[in-house]
Amino acid sequence: MEALIELIQYIVQNLINALQRGSFYAVISIGYSMVYGVLMLFNFAHGDIFMVATYIGFGIATLFLALFAGFIPGPLIFLATIVITMFLASWIGVFVEVAGYRPLRSAPRASAAITGLMIGIIFETSILILLGAKRLSFPPLMESIAYNVGGVYFTNVKVMIIIISLLLMLALHTFIQKTKWGMAMRAMSYDFLAVPLMGVSINVIAPLTFAVGAGLAAVAGILYGQAYPILDPYMGVIIGWKAFVAAILGGRGSIKGAALAGYLLGFIEIFVATIFPSTLRDLIAYSIILLILTYRPRGFFGMEHSTKLRL
């Protein structure tokens, strides 16, 4: 009996861990997936957009805490940081689109992917030059309180991260489903060529998509700063590639798929390390992904599409 309770505690504990990790992957990979769906491009700069957004968030948060801490309630500062960071970060997204991807509209997709990769390297190096080699510690925007409910440990920060991520995804879903812009994006991911004929310019939709993606990355960045408060210029690389995996695993242009794949990735990482010896984690986790794609070659919600690499 005791053993059973302990097992349940163990599983619940890891479920919470996985939910938190998965939330980041989900939110970041949605941004990736949107660009992928609308423009059929790998936005390899997305991980670094996330990194820059986190640095912006760090700047805003530090500024606000220095100016207003004490006489403005904490949650308000938190909210303001998120909103302003989202706004600023979305311009980074627009910049990347206009400077890096727009000139390559008619180029092969692989070239655009390389451009993204290079923009990412430029971002990393620029941050390193501007801020030096020092790593930064993201200031806590809310006091972390640890709870112990029946042997399961969690903090209020963890709960908040999971809830905000879910709310964000819900909001995005509404945006995509209900608004004019969202519908244009959806249409674009169904048929890349037909939408411009309907009077919606790709030169409006594409930056918008990048902006929304970068905005999501900004929220993810601030939440990330709360959970893992160490910032360094290369922090976006691995998470970017993982978002790439999740976005494509979810199926082309499917927001739902990307979110699901993001959570799945989180679960795989946490539970593989739990069940197997943790040294084998990457080996097993990536083998699982390889197997999934071998047997489900279109991802989770992928549509049958005949696009090839435009080579």
Binding site: P108, T115, T125, L283, Y286, T294
Partner: protein
């Protein structure tokens, strides 16, 4: 503009042999007078290693000296000798033209190697750069087979390279070296250099067998999903090696014997260029392009698409394995961290910079990125802003890379320029 065109036209009747002789003369000048006279009087501390790029960026005050050095040692002698010697070189080229193409090519290559060896021999740093550049050429050509000719976006190349590097290192360490991982050598270490090609090929074959893990899913999966599969493959290889403590795990594996001097690497590079060139210009190899451009049409035209895809992956992986083996023996140390995302970004940059579907493009790409990476070393961090910017510009203005969809035409390259002048 007009002057430049005229200037170039002046040299249109110089055959390849002429340029080689010019280069030879330049190297001789550098060899005999470079250190004692020319660089001394120009106030340079030593013979500038990469045409003065390093010294120019580090100490701007040396810029005039370095430029003058380049002019005196390279530009003027090469242009002068090449132009002056045409009466002779064109005739020799015409004679060579009558011999079989392979013979003419081998003579040219042997001469080229001799000059290169002399040039590199002035400074071991040059030797190292040339070695690593040649390995990069093999690597870039091999990924071009998959990403260019076959048109998949494969991210698994560092993985293939790792397999080749580890297998060949294990073989050479096990058989020819007394070391702490595998104990005493099984065979005499004198046999090592002779049997080294077998170890390399074993590495290549192992890499191509490993590539089946990516190739077989590619029957059902195309493009984007395959990119993920190949990425997963790369991580799997890295993680597997990390967990194998027998071969050093994350601590890496060192002490590989020095079986890869410059001539060996040069021969392997030429072999790679030759074999890949033969393959991609044959109908069998052009099937790769057919499958890339339209799979259904290829099937209907009797092309075995599955076999073709498998060939592309296995062939590309084989050469990546060879490159990995050479790389391991040049550095005499490998660890799994070397074959990860960073390496992938570098390989992708080289192939897309140089040009898809073109061997000559791959050569240009590999040389450019390698030399640029070395030459901009003194800029430290800013190097990683300038190189990406150059790549972005290339992508914008030449989306398929600098030289794409172009094959080497050895006959045209090596022919005498004499007759054409007369005919015109």
């Amino acid at each position: 503009m007009e002057t430049a065109r005229k200037f170039i036209k002046t040299f249109s009747n110089v055959p390849m042999l002429g340029w080689l002789i010019g280069f030879f003369a330049a190297v001789l000048i550098e060899y005999y007078w470079g250190y004692d006279y020319i660089s001394y009087y120009l106030g340079l501390p030593k013979i500038p290693v990469l045409f003065g790029a390093l010294i120019m960026l580090k100490e701007p005050i040396m810029i005039p000296g370095a430029i003058a050095y380049d002019l005196i040692v390279y530009v003027i002698p090469i242009l002068f000798i090449a132009k002056v010697s045409i009466f002779f070189t064109n005739r020799v080229a015409a004679v060579l033209e009558k011999t079989p193409l392979w013979m003419s090519a081998i003579i040219h290559l042997a001469f080229f190697y001799g000059v290169l060896h002399l040039w590199a021999g002035i400074n071991d740093y040059r030797v190292l750069i040339v070695k690593l550049t040649l390995i990069s050429i093999i690597l870039t050509i091999s990924i071009n087979v998959i990403n260019g000719y076959q048109g998949e976006f494969s991210c698994s190349h560092p993985g293939f390279m790792a397999i080749g590097a580890y297998i060949s290192s294990i073989l050479t360490l096990y058989f020819f070296v007394n070391d702490k991982t595998f104990g005493t050598a099984v065979l005499s270490s004198e046999l090592g250099p002779w049997l080294f090609p077998i170890a390399l090929i074993a590495g290549g074959v192992a890499a191509s067998l490993g590539s089946l893990l990516v190739a077989i899913p590619s029957f059902r999966t195309r493009g984007d999903y395959l990119a993920i599969i190949s990425l997963a493959f790369m991580f799997i290889v890295k993680s597997a090696v990390e967990n194998l403590n027998v071969i050093g795990g994350a601590r890496g594996m060192g002490g590989q014997p020095d079986y890869a001097p410059l001539p060996i690497i040069f021969i392997w590079t030429i072999l790679c260029i030759w074999v890949v060139h033969n393959f991609v210009t044959s109908i069998m190899g052009k099937a790769l392009n057919a499958v890339r451009d339209d799979e259904a049409a290829s099937e209907s035209m009797t092309v075995k698409t599955r076999k073709t895809k498998m060939t592309a992956f296995m062939f590309g992986a084989f050469w990546a394995g060879i490159a990995g083996g050479l790389f391991a023996h040049v550095l005499a140390y490998i660890n799994p961290g070397m074959f990860s995302i960073n390496r992938l970004a570098e390989i992708l940059a080289m192939v897309y910079f140089g040009g898809l579907n073109s061997i000559i493009g791959s050569i240009v790409g590999a040389i450019s990125i390698n030399v640029l990476g070395e030459a901009l070393r003194p800029l430290e961090l800013f190097k990683w802003i300038i190189i990406p910017l150059i790549l972005i510009l290339v992508m914008i203005f030449r989306p398929y890379g600098l030289i794409s969809f172009k094959e080497i035409n050895a006959k045209k390259l090596l022919r005498s320029k004499h007759k054409r002048e007369q005919g015109a």
